[in-house]
């Protein structure tokens, strides 16, 4: 090994160890746990290292009648949350694009939902929409908009009367999706804004000369120019929302029809004290994630 390679080894060695212990090893260890009967009470015992491997955990997880609905909830939450955050991000970017006084301030303001700690913003929103003490419900009742307060985060269904047609809305799920859109639109906003500023002015000038109206310019120039960044954003947001735990855990604890798979991981481990089943759900999550990672890396390699 020559000197340069040896130096590279030592410079990367601490990073390698940290990643090995705190990322690689846990994933392997998770696979091991998912194949064993382990409860939360067994953690100190010798049984943790015994070769009593079984598929019982996966049988339990796949036999759980809540798995199917859980997966569906996860997909609705993921697609809804990703799409909404990107849509809001696009709108915000179009609003802030261009030169006007106070633009920097607005940009700073628009990014704050993403910068603020998740515990602070989830508790604040829970308080705002609280059916007993929440300002939103009280204002709506005061002004006669609502007959009674709506428990946004703790009620599964909400019957809406649309011109005589009764529609059942999954209320809590919609609420957490709205939160997701609110909290993560700044991410899309920043990327879209950067891309908007890179679109050459000549394109717009040429279109104006040809007599294209503002809406047509948006449709025929801006949108096509944004298509790559929009689809990349969707992939990113999809992957991260699919694995998101904190937000739903803090908003609704997975109650009232918001039990996504990440909440199942927690519930098995600390609700049923079944570490094995919890690890099995984590493996399922990881498997689905791997598919998206493969898509993502094909993308990256193609871009290179």
């Amino acid at each position: 090994m020559d000197q340069e390679a040896r130096l590279a080894f030592w410079l990367l060695f601490p990073t390698f160890i940290v990643v090995l212990v705190f990322v690689i090893f846990p994933v392997i260890w998770n696979l091991w746990l998912s194949l064993k009967p382990v409860s939360l009470g067994d953690l100190r015992g010798i049984s943790l290292f015994k070769f009593n491997l079984t598929l019982e955990n996966f049988r339990k997880v796949f036999g759980d009648q809540h798995l199917g609905p859980g997966l569906l909830t996860t997909l609705i939450y993921t697609i809804g949350g990703s799409a909404l955050s990107i849509l809001l991000g696009l709108m915000a970017a179009l609003l802030v694009h261009g030169e006007f006084p106070g633009r920097g301030l607005l940009r700073g303001l628009f990014i704050s939902p993403y910068i603020a700690p998740v515990v602070a913003v989830t508790f604040t929103w829970s308080f705002i929409v609280d059916p007993q003490l929440g300002v939103l419900n009280w204002l709506a009742v005061d002004k006669g908009l609502l007959a009674q307060p709506i428990p946004f985060l703790s009620q599964r269904w909400w019957d809406l009367d649309l011109l005589g047609v009764r529609v059942r809305m999954p209320l809590a799920l919609i609420s957490v999706i709205l939160f997701e859109g609110w909290r993560y639109f700044p991410f899309a906003f920043l990327f879209i804004l950067a891309r908007l500023q890179a679109i050459p002015d000549e394109l717009y000038q040429a279109a104006s000369v040809d007599g294209a109206s503002p809406f047509r310019r948006f449709y025929h120039i801006t949108l096509p120019q944004l298509s790559t960044v929009l689809s990349t954003l969707f992939l990113f947001r999809f992957i991260w929302t699919f694995n998101k735990f904190d937000d739903i855990f803090l908003l609704s604890r997975g109650q009232a029809g918001t039990k996504v798979l990440t909440i199942k991981v927690y519930d098995y481990a600390f609700g049923e004290f079944d570490i094995g089943a919890s690890s099995a759900v984590a493996m399922v999550l990881f498997g689905v994630l791997s598919i998206f990672l493969i898509i993502y890396f094909r993308w990256i390699l193609k871009e290179d």
Partner: protein
Amino acid sequence: MSREYFEQTIIRILRVVGLIFFIIIVAFPFYWMIVSSFKSLGEILLRPANLGLDIRKIDFHAYYAVLFEHGFLQYISNSVYVSILTVVLSVTLATVGGYAVTRLRFRGRKIMSYSILLIYMFPAIVLVIPLYVMFSRMGLRDSINLLILVYLAQTLPVALYMLKSYFQTLPPEMEHAGLIDGCSRLGVIWRIVIPLSAPALASVALYTFMIAWNEFLFAFMFLDTPEKFTLSRGVVQLAQSVHLSKQLVMAASVTVTIPILVLFLFFERCLVRGLTAGAMKG
């Protein structure tokens, strides 16, 4: 009226309406958090729809209670300790690692660059249970220093990737000159690379600080002893123990939010660059 003029007018109206909409939905929760933290319990219970704050009735009691009765002074110092140590370790290791991947020739360099990205995509929820089991068994779980190492693992791959991208844009000629003049590689990093990369290092440091400061899941799962709680962990604890006293939870939320928002507004440009360069996780 021409079509151009008509559409421009519509766009102007939409812009005003849109800006008002966004300003309200973004600013209102922060406004409400702050206003509620200065109210008394009576005010919260009796007038939940009161949007304003009566200047004569401003009540600092929630802050007093949170800081001195619920242990938040300790949590603040824990959070500062955890975040600063995470930043120092992460930026140091990412600088030397990023330099190695950019400038040194060794086998597996390309693989290394891609695996950094891959590791950065690993979700925390998949890692938290096995780490919980592992460190519970070793009796090390309830430790603030262990938490720092977890945060290091969470931030290092992105930090390294961001710095690697930046180092690639630096001209290597100056470093060659340094090497010829008898500088060691580490000397080159210290004297040439680091001064040239100050803006990138600032972005990475801010980004890392934010991740460590805001992190909830690992702090929630790992820490049992209240003396060791970080701010995020402390806020959750508080919210679970008081039911009606929302002003306490809001005062605690303000306490954890203000430092990171102020820091961010101060260094806004750096952070925006950091956010877009690293395609931040979250």
